[in-house]
Point group: C2
Chain length 159, copies 2
């Protein structure tokens, strides 16, 4: 049953991305994690480091894309799958399109910020037709860690 | 006449960004340049380095944002103006929104790829209301260098 096998793989790799989200949580960064797979192996793993690096572009997906391109010595991430625990934001969606990743799997939907789904309209159909996108893999734990984080942040700020 | 003075400043800083685009052209990179201004001074200058760094995220604006955040030791680029020779792509538009740059000035429109202007619709109104955007500064030289580059690339590929 290849479909079941693929689903198992997706859950496995998303759980690897979730470990990165856990690491971000511990570092007081928004807990989003990502990993990129090539020929069945993880070639990049990263989590948000906006606060640590003081860099607004240091999202999990961006760092993972840079790592994967360095690993492949090619900025075109052909044959790769990118797993990320949260629906990519606009910046990351743009980066994913440009990196030519053919397959994207994400966990939780981002209800607050408009991101990837906002681009799924006629203007972007041609790019998206070439990319396979699946959302909702391990959505519950991916969402839960984000909710816990924002609760913690609100607690600290006294709100 | 403060308006005239501001326009002069915009032309001056865009010409600085254009120098970066020239450097990109010489390095066989898509000739786009950017600079970021804070308190009247250039705190970041960069050009596309996608091919050199083999990194699909290495657009002029992204590198400049990272540089400026490092300079200010803050990922929020408050009080800054970002100049870029071409209308930002989706990734860069997303990064610009997130970096909280309050003012964006760009040169040439990007007719091929949908970018910033595609985001100017009701869904993004709230973000954009907080950002001042001006396009078309030194649009002709900004566009010309891009056209020359793509002519050169087509020549090399024999098309």
């Amino acid at each position: 049953m290849p479909l079941k096998k693929d689903a198992d793989k997706d859950v496995y790799f998303m759980s690897e991305a979730l470990k990165e989200a856990d690491a971000a949580f511990e570092e007081d960064e928004t807990p989003v994690g990502a990993c990129i797979i090539h020929e069945g192996k993880i070639i990049a793993k990263a989590h948000n480091q906006v606060e640590l690096l003081k860099d607004p572009t240091a999202h999990a997906e961006m760092i993972a894309i840079t790592q994967a391109a360095a690993h492949l010595k090619n900025w075109r991430l052909e044959g790769c799958t990118l797993y990320v625990t949260k629906e990519p934001c606009l910046m990351c969606s743009g980066a994913i399109f440009m990196s030519r990743v053919p397959r994207l799997v994400f966990g939780a939907m981002d209800e607050a910020a408009k991101g990837l789904r906002d681009l799924i309209h006629p203007g972007y159909e041609s790019s998206l037709r070439e990319m396979e996108i699946m959302g909702g893999v391990l959505a519950d734990p991916c969402q839960k860690i984000l909710k816990e984080f924002f609760k913690k942040v609100r607690g600290k700020s006294g709100n």
